[in-house]
């Protein structure tokens, strides 16, 4: 665990030369760890598929890829159950997939097909899979933070111990709505987990150019919300923090906040690496962050501990690749939504006004 008290800086966690060794697996069960591995790899490969489709010109809708950030969603989701209520933003492929959102429905959505997660009406930035607890993502920065808190209010009133999760970035912490929501969730003791993925960038701007201090957990503490600062590329550490804070929420002890420090390998939007924008975003910086690879670190740890035979990894990868290949084929073949959908979905009774 990294400083959880009054520290307002990321310190060593922001230095990609550090924390790049194999993960400390502790006494984690091998099955669970292998589950994390599979889930992270599925997210990684699915996003690579999307990136390739974009490069090939098959996909046009804007896609914000979270390659490199997989451990956050997978660690958090390990503490969740399908009746919990998860909300995301513009970069939410991982949040959707980590709770078990169907990759085929995600890819179809990105193609704009009627079989997509949002019936082809939303694209990459509008995913939806309530059957597994993913209740929606939208790209207005910060917009789902209070909505998740509202889902938590409903969960609290339902009294079944369910929680809500809001995923957002360091940039979203610059919107007033985060601060309003932290305050309200705190006084109302709402069972909501705020998950800030601090990837040190908002679009082209380094956090140093946007905030006086680089740890956003300070905003939670200022509102009396318990916060944990974790290595967002260490799935074990994220899972442990999520487990503790989610349990507290389920037991009626109010909201929690995880700040997971991570880095996106691709640009703000689209498949490129964007090493030409921003202050620190240089080829060296990116290469260093790739050394803190959340998937590679888990894999090395499992191999070093002789917990898993190397060919198990090959098998997992092949399975995922097959699933994704089928998903792409199905998306290509699927029909677009009918033109009537344009008006039919505006109101409960359709959109015809005259």
């Amino acid at each position: 665990m990294h400083s959880t008290t009054s520290d307002m800086r990321l310190g060593p966690l922001a230095d990609p030369q550090l924390f790049n060794e194999p993960l400390d697996l502790g006494n984690g069960a091998t099955d669970a760890l292998l589950g994390y591995y599979r889930s992270m790899l599925k997210i990684r490969l699915a996003e690579e598929v999307v990136a390739d489709l974009y490069v090939a010109g098959e996909v046009r809708c804007p896609c914000h890829l979270g390659i490199g950030q997989e451990a956050v969603a997978v660690g958090v989701s390990s503490a969740l159950r399908p009746t919990d209520r998860v909300y995301g933003g513009h970069r939410s492929h991982s949040h959707y997939l980590a709770v078990g959102g169907n990759p085929a429905a995600m890819i179809a959505e990105i193609f704009g097909k009627g079989t997509g997660a949002s019936a082809g009406m939303g694209g990459s930035m509008h995913l939806y899979a309530p059957e597994v607890g993913f209740h929606g993502s939208v790209p207005i920065v910060g917009a789902t933070i209070p909505i998740a808190a509202g889902a938590a209010l409903a969960a609290k009133m339902d009294g079944r111990g369910d929680v809500a999760v809001a995923y957002f970035g360091d940039g979203a912490c610059e919107e007033g709505i985060l601060h309003e929501t932290l305050n309200m969730a705190s006084v109302m003791r709402l069972p909501v987990l705020f998950v800030a993925e601090n990837n040190l960038y908002s679009s082209h701007l380094d956090i140093k150019l946007r905030q006086p201090l680089d740890s956003v957990a300070r905003f939670a503490r200022a509102n009396g919300v318990e916060a944990e600062l974790v290595d967002g590329n260490d799935v074990v550490e994220v899972a442990r923090a999520a487990e503790r804070l989610v349990r507290a929420s389920r037991e009626g002890r109010g909201p929690g906040f995880i700040e997971a420090v991570t880095f996106r390998w691709r640009g703000h939007v689209g498949p490129n690496e964007d090493i030409d924008v921003g202050v620190r975003r240089s080829p060296d910086e990116l290469a260093a962050w790739k050394g803190r690879d959340p998937i590679g670190r888990l894999r090395s740890a499992l191999i070093n501990a002789k917990r898993v035979a190397p060919d198990s990894f090959t098998l997992i990868e092949e399975e995922i690749r097959t699933e994704l290949r089928d998903a792409v084929e199905a998306a290509r073949a699927a029909p677009y939504p009918p033109e009537a959908a344009l008006l039919d979905m505006v109101y409960a009774n359709g959109g015809q006004t005259s």
């Binding site: 097909k113 009406m121 790209p139 610059e174 946007r210 905030q211």
Partner: protein
């Protein structure tokens, strides 16, 4: 004279106002990025310094309020909102504050400033990355609203907005960024001298709109010409306060009106155009019922075929105009 694209004309406008007024500053998201607002701000930070060309955190409300405050104390801020959809988060500062301070504080002060909102749609971006909300804002007394269609206006209305003693919302449309035009050198522009203009002359029907709708109207006019129908194209340029003189003059001549708007119909700008034409004409001056081309009453879709069905095109505008003409001859 050389040919200048709309987005470069915007940048030239910034260059002119920041050069001529040392108290003018630009503030908003993406101003230090080479691509965030197209190339419309490119290099301004290097030319005028990062003290006067300020990239901001993701804080639309505070950014706009900070500009209001600086404007109340002698500076001339231009706030840039790279997408109108995100500008919604600044709407209190625009509508409740900037637009009202002069009036509600007895006429003694005015946050004279420019708010630049960019319409950025299409490309399968969807419901929250596509909106053109000019009609909302043009509803507000105290907030001048301008929408340039041509490269020259893109530059000159920015200059006029910046030199105005009132808060002005300047709205540009990324679908116009590559439109090129020869431009005379930049000069001071008095916003109050700017009104609607006739961009093309004909006699069968008046096509009226602002911003990208003018481009659609001009392209539709070309199509209509091949059907032997000639039309007036009126570019309104300023939505608030609306100057209907050119529109009414044109309608009196043609007796027919098609209002075109890149946003929704209900309580929208196209309806305002029809109302102000009707209010300033006699019934016997009309040869046909006026009509409008707008978006379907739905949020923007992402899916390719739905997007194609969603936005008006020169063809759909020409077809609507032809329909009016045919029904009334």
């Amino acid at each position: 004279m050389s040919s200048v694209a709309y987005c470069d004309a915007i940048r030239q406008g910034f260059g002119f106002v920041m050069e001529s007024d040392p108290k003018c500053l630009a503030i908003g998201q993406g101003l230090w990025s080479p691509w965030y607002v197209g190339r419309s701000m490119d290099g301004l930070d290097r030319r005028f310094g990062k003290e006067r060309v300020i990239d901001t955190p993701v804080s639309e409300g505070a950014t706009t309020g900070i500009a209001v405050g600086a404007a109340l104390h002698g500076y001339k801020p231009i706030v840039i909102h790279p997408r109108m959809d995100f500008m919604i988060l600044a709407t209190d500062q625009i509508v409740n504050q900037a637009a009202k301070w002069r009036h509600m504080l007895g006429g003694h002060c005015s946050p004279a400033m420019v708010i630049r909102g960019i319409v950025n749609r299409g490309g399968e971006q969807g419901a929250q990355h596509s909106q053109a909300l000019h009609s909302w804002y043009a509803h507000i007394p105290g907030l001048r609203v301008v929408m340039p269609a041509t490269p020259t206006d893109a530059r000159d209305l920015l200059i006029a907005a910046t030199q105005s003693p009132d808060p002005v919302l300047y709205i540009d449309d990324r679908w116009l960024y590559e439109w090129e035009e020869e431009m005379a050198p930049a000069a001071d522009v008095d916003l109050e001298s700017v009104g609607g203009v006739l961009r093309r002359e004909g006699d069968a029907i008046t096509l009226a709109g602002a911003s990208y709708s003018v481009k659609l109207a001009l392209d539709a006019a070309e199509i209509l010409q091949t059907h032997g129908v000639t039309c007036d194209v009126v570019d309104m340029r300023i939505l608030n306060p609306l100057d209907p003189a050119a529109l009414r003059r044109s309608v009196r001549k043609t007796g027919r009106l098609l209002a075109i708007d890149g946003s929704w119909s209900n309580c929208g700008f196209a309806g305002e155009l029809i109302a102000s034409a009707v209010e300033g004409t006699r019934p016997d001056e009309w040869r046909a019922m006026p009509s409008r081309v707008t978006l379907p009453h739905a949020p923007a879709p992402t899916s390719k075929p739905l997007e194609a069905a969603y936005y008006p095109t020169a063809d759909s505008v020409a077809a609507a105009a032809l329909d009016i003409v045919k029904k009334s001859t």
